[in-house]
């Protein structure tokens, strides 16, 4: 070796050497990268990185997937306009708009709509005539049938000249068939098909008169459109999102007050309710994975830091400054975060593709691509996990006394007992807040977690005490195992907490998840209503009920309702309100269906305020109850004063409460419900929903004929869609659950690993003193089984409580305690932890005592 004396170093170079030791960022980075790679190769990072990748993968899979679903929902909402953008006016629209739209490369269609009477012989019916241009609808498709209330299919065609497509109700009303002639103004037009569905027919039963659809070229011949006709002229535009947005801003500047840009409507509340719940299930699974991974990361980082204490002391001994040690640790964290996030995002992307494949039938076309922002979520998750759970133990490396190289008993000064929990709470809290945007929920999750950790901790302490007493009276391996639990003290307590948390989350998802999914399926039984009957005059209520009962149809209570428009909030006109969302504007612009009720409707739960007394005092002021979607979109609170225009009459009511509505119950529900008596005298009608078995659908034609004023809406297709959603979402949750299982394994591995070094040494000593391998293994398994039993019983209780809370507060489902949970918890805890402990530590007894003791 060419060992020549070093060049003499002037005293002034000492400070330069210090700077050198601290190093440039690049040098530190290179050093950090090299050592990270070496740690990875030596298996030091497996649990830490594995837990991180899993957490990121689970969250991004759900993030990517829900972004695709919400984009698909937006697309479906666009279908409700039959376009990306729609303008309406009471006057014909200016030609320059078409020119400008074409300049923006948008496709255009137009509709002229007005109410009129059509005739068949002497009989007449009020209809809405819709004259559409070529290209309609620009989004979504029309569906037509060959016979009234018959099976329908999608079509790309429009009525050819001289023909019309009409709704079943018109044909049933006249007793006509396809092929018959219909008098429309001055024209005799042949009915070429039954119009079953058009995308812009609205989900809120806004258009009560049935539609007669004809080509725009046939409109003039009817001579119905005269000066003063109550026509609405609509122009529809579609194109790329950016082109539509540009054109829209041009339009908003040019259009003037007489023209209204129709806001994107909401997709059906029923489907939205189910989608929302499905997303909550997915998010719950992902959050559970996140919590488990956080526990695993915390434990793995603790062990990683403990194993690096000597290296840190050695580095300092060789001249590394505290800053260098700290910077190395921070770079390593950042590199682990980057690599973990990248790998997790890739895995998450793959997993979301699998989820999308599972749910492929739910959406009419291929799902839109996922939002790139979910990848950002991955990076934020990785950083938050590491900063919250891995940073505190790594920060301690900086403070390792260099004297540790000579005296191994020199420990690390503590950083204050509050630092690690504070970091954990801050990072996890921030992440949960970012994901949930619900302060109360985040606080509840933390409260629950805090209580669980406290209970587990105290139970762990109790176990350590009892184990210390109990070991006196038992046999060899058991005594050794129990002695270990008692002697490891704090280590055993930490393991009880980790196993307990891990088992709680696993039980929550393995057992409670199934209960919740079962409840969800049960919330939509086979006989759920599939037809809505609207516009039932008060005098028709009894005859209609009798008619349906005679046909074997069960009729539930009928709900009264009137059409009304919200005109003022707290004495300010609605037009002056600053509404944050399209949805708020849609609520403000469109007519509302108002109902009234003495009692809180079924499928509704109060989230704010109080329900009014069943018998209000005579002359009491009117009160109103709002669905939470309505209150949120319009920024309304309990105590606000609302004014409605009900058929020209002003009705003032104060908001008494806000309700959470279970829209996917398929029973009549209302955004706005008034106290009894408030709408006295208003010309209201009734609505109800019924379940019609396939054979009972033949009742529809005579029903429409006998009750011509009643509108029938078939929601069977939607019902099927919601059922499918529940089934598929359950499968998707199972998919995400795989991540949670993986995370559970990570926690077990991290917890078992946390005492592995200690165990290895003890095992070597015992075997050196003559204990057989079997005795040592039995002792280790005993220790883990005892820890697993205690964790399992506590975890079962915690999972039951958390399940009940999630069911009531989050999913709005009933939940009944399942005694099986405790058997699974107890057996699973002892078995899983025992086997995990044996698997992870069998290497301990397979290594020769000599090797262990020598190293």
């Amino acid at each position: 070796m060419a060992v020549t004396p070093p060049p003499p170093t002037p005293a002034s170079a000492v400070s330069g050497a210090a700077a050198h030791a601290a190093g440039s960022a690049w040098r530190v980075l290179r050093f950090a990268m090299r050592h990270l790679w070496r740690d990875w190769r030596a298996g030091e990072l497996a649990v830490l990185a594995g837990a991180l990748v899993l957490a990121v993968a689970a969250l991004t899979a759900v993030g990517f997937f829900t972004s695709r679903v919400s984009r698909a929902v937006d697309q479906q909402a666009a279908e409700l306009l039959a376009a990306d953008l729609r303008v309406e006016s009471a006057r014909p629209l200016a030609a320059q708009w078409s020119t400008e739209a074409l300049r923006h490369r948008l496709t255009i269609a137009s509709i002229t709509t007005f109410p009129t009477a059509v005739f068949h012989g002497e009989d007449n019916a009020l209809v809405t005539l819709r004259a559409v241009s070529a290209g309609y609808p620009l989004r979504g498709t029309l569906r037509i049938a060959a016979v009234p209330f018959g099976p329908a299919q999608s079509t790309q065609r429009l009525p050819s000249p001289g023909t019309v497509w009409v709704e079943s109700r018109v044909l049933a009303r006249f007793g006509m068939n396809v092929g018959d002639l219909l008098s429309v103004g001055a024209s005799e037009l042949r009915v070429a098909a039954v119009l079953d569905y058009r995308p812009d027919q609205g989900a809120a039963f806004a258009d009560l008169a049935p539609t007669v659809l004809l080509g725009q070229t046939d409109l003039a011949a009817t001579r119905l459109l005269q000066n003063g006709s109550r026509a609405t002229y609509a122009q529809l535009y579609a194109g790329t999102p950016s082109a539509v947005a540009e054109f829209r801003s041009w339009l908003e500047r040019e259009k003037g007050d007489a023209v209204r840009v129709v806001a994107l409507g909401e997709s059906s509340e029923q489907l939205k309710g189910s989608l929302d719940r499905a997303q909550r299930f997915l998010l719950l699974s992902a959050l559970a994975t996140l919590l488990l991974c956080a526990v695993a990361v915390a434990m793995a980082a603790r062990r990683y830091a403990a194993r690096h204490l000597d290296l840190a002391a050695l580095m300092k001994c060789m001249g590394a400054s505290q800053r260098f040690v700290l910077a190395t640790g921070l770079w390593q964290l950042a590199l682990i975060a980057l690599a973990g996030a990248a790998l997790g995002v890739l895995l998450g992307f793959g997993a979301q593709a699998a989820l999308a494949w599972l749910l492929r039938d739910l959406f009419s076309g291929p799902l839109p691509p996922p939002a790139a922002s979910a990848a950002g979520l991955g990076l934020v998750t990785a950083l938050a996990m590491l900063l919250g759970f891995a940073l505190p133990p790594l920060l301690q490396l900086r403070a390792v006394p260099v004297l540790r190289v000579l005296r191994h008993d020199v420990g690390v000064p503590g950083m204050g007992f509050y630092v690690a929990p504070l970091c954990a709470v801050a990072s996890l809290g921030g992440l949960l807040w970012w994901l949930l945007r619900d302060l109360l929920l985040v606080a509840t999750v933390f409260g629950g977690l805090g209580a669980l950790v406290a209970v587990l901790w105290m139970a762990g302490l109790g176990l350590v005490r009892v184990a210390a007493l109990a070991r006196r009276g038992t046999g060899g391996a058991w005594r050794y195992g129990l002695a270990n639990v008692g002697r490891r003290g704090a280590g055993s307590v930490v393991q009880v907490v980790a196993f307990g948390l891990g088992l709680t989350v696993l039980l929550l998802l393995a057992v409670v998840r199934n209960d919740l999914l079962r409840e969800w399926r049960a919330s939509l039984p086979a006989d759920a209503p599939n037809h809505f009957l609207i516009n039932i005059a008060p005098e028709e209520v009894a005859p209609l009920q009798a008619f349906l009962r005679a046909g074997g149809v069960t009729v539930e209570a009928l709900s009264p309702w009137v059409r009304a428009r919200l005109v003022a909030v707290n004495n300010r006109p609605v037009s002056a309100l600053k509404l944050p969302s399209d949805r708020g504007r849609a609520f403000a612009e469109r007519e509302q269906n108002l109902s009234w009720s003495a009692t809180l409707p079924r499928d509704n739960t109060l989230v704010a305020g109080h329900w009014w007394p069943a018998l209000p005092a005579p002359g009491a002021p009117a009160q109103v109850s709002l669905a939470s979607e309505f209150a949120t979109a319009l920024g309304l609170f309990v105590g606000d004063q609302l004014v409605f225009d009900v058929a020209g009459e002003r009705l003032t009511a104060r908001v008494a409460n806000v309700r959470q509505v279970q829209w996917d119950s398929f029973r009549p529900n209302f955004f706005v419900v008034l106290s009894p008596g408030a709408l006295e005298g208003a010309a209201g009608t009734y609505m109800t929903s019924v379940h019609l078995a396939p054979a009972q659908r033949r009742l529809l034609a005579p029903l429409v004929h006998r009750f011509p004023g009643v509108s029938v809406f078939d929601v069977e297709a939607l019902l099927v869609q919601v059922r499918q959603l529940i089934d598929r979402a359950s499968q998707a949750v199972q998919g995400v659950f795989l991540f949670t299982l993986g995370a559970g394994v990570m926690v077990l591995a991290a917890a078992v690993q946390s005492t592995r070094d200690e165990r290895r040494f003890e095992s070597a000593i015992l075997r050196t003193l003559g204990a057989s391998r079997a005795v040592v293994i039995r002792g280790i398994v005993t220790e883990f089984v005892v820890l697993g039993l205690l964790s399992g019983v506590l975890a079962s209780t915690a999972a039951a409580v958390a399940g009940a809370f999630a069911a009531h507060q989050w999913f709005h489902l009933a939940y009944s305690f399942d005694p099986l949970l405790w058997s699974v918890g107890l057996g699973g805890g002892a078995g899983l932890v025992g086997v995990a402990g044996w698997l992870a530590t069998r290497g301990v007894v397979n290594t020769s005592p000599l090797t262990t003791l020598r190293h």
Binding site: V3, C317, V405
Partner: protein, 230 residues
């Protein structure tokens, strides 16, 4: 005597214990010149390792002062002392202190990487060849015998060409024959490099191979003897 490399002036180390203040080192003063080989001997608890820690700046004395190449350690903070060690000091420990996750080669590269020296791999490979472990560069510490591990530690200590080498019971964990071979190697490397060696040992035979012996008893320097070794 040649230029002073290490100076201990009135070194005193006290620690608090339940029984009161315990004096581990008491007014120890000496000077070590460049290239000297010095053994610090004494019974267990005499204060040998404490003295080594203070001389290397791993700890600070309660009273007194240490000067390394004229630089007072009391004037430096922890990072300043670390920087001084970085360029001038090497260590060999009783329990080797090899990093288990690093191969033999990477363990030797570690101080070079910390210093940001160019081509650390080549220098480390050469250092390992010098201690006879050219064939074991890719082995992890657990795959090496005790003697081999200490040879890796020697390569790591000399690879930065330190001015001063501190060795704390370097043969304490080895059998007599292996210990002897390791000691031979240590002294040979030391001669080649012209390094100042401070060796803590309780083995009089090993101490006798050094040029000077400092004997501690009860925390005091009770003898400072020059041997026949040059």
């Amino acid at each position: 005597m040649s230029e002073a490399v290490l100076e201990a002036v009135g070194l005193t180390q006290e620690v608090s214990s339940p029984e009161g203040t315990l004096t581990i080192l008491n007014q120890v003063t000496f000077v070590i010149g460049a290239g000297e080989t010095v053994a610090v001997v004494g019974a267990s608890g005499a204060g040998k390792s404490t003295l080594l820690g203070l001389l290397a700046g791993l700890d600070v004395p309660t009273h007194g002062e240490v000067r390394v190449v004229g630089q007072s350690l009391s004037a430096l903070d922890e990072d300043g002392r670390a920087a001084l060690r970085a360029n001038r000091v090497g260590f060999v420990f009783q329990s080797f202190h090899l990093v288990p996750a690093l191969t033999a080669l990477e363990n030797v590269m570690l101080p070079l990487e910390l210093l940001g020296r160019p081509a650390p791999r080549a220098a480390a490979t050469e250092a390992l060849a010098r201690v006879g472990l050219a064939e074991r560069t890719g082995h992890y510490p657990r795959q090496l015998s005790g003697g081999e591990q200490q040879r890796v530690a020697l390569a790591r200590a000399f690879v930065t060409r330190p001015q001063v080498l501190f060795a704390d019971e370097p043969t304490g964990n080895l059998d007599a024959a292996t210990g002897l071979r390791v000691m031979e190697l240590l002294l040979a490397l030391n001669r080649e490099a012209g390094t100042t060696l401070v060796l803590v040992t309780h083995d009089r035979m090993l101490a006798a191979r050094c040029g000077r012996i400092l004997e501690l008893a009860g925390g005091r320097l009770v003898a400072d003897t020059r041997t026949a070794v040059v």
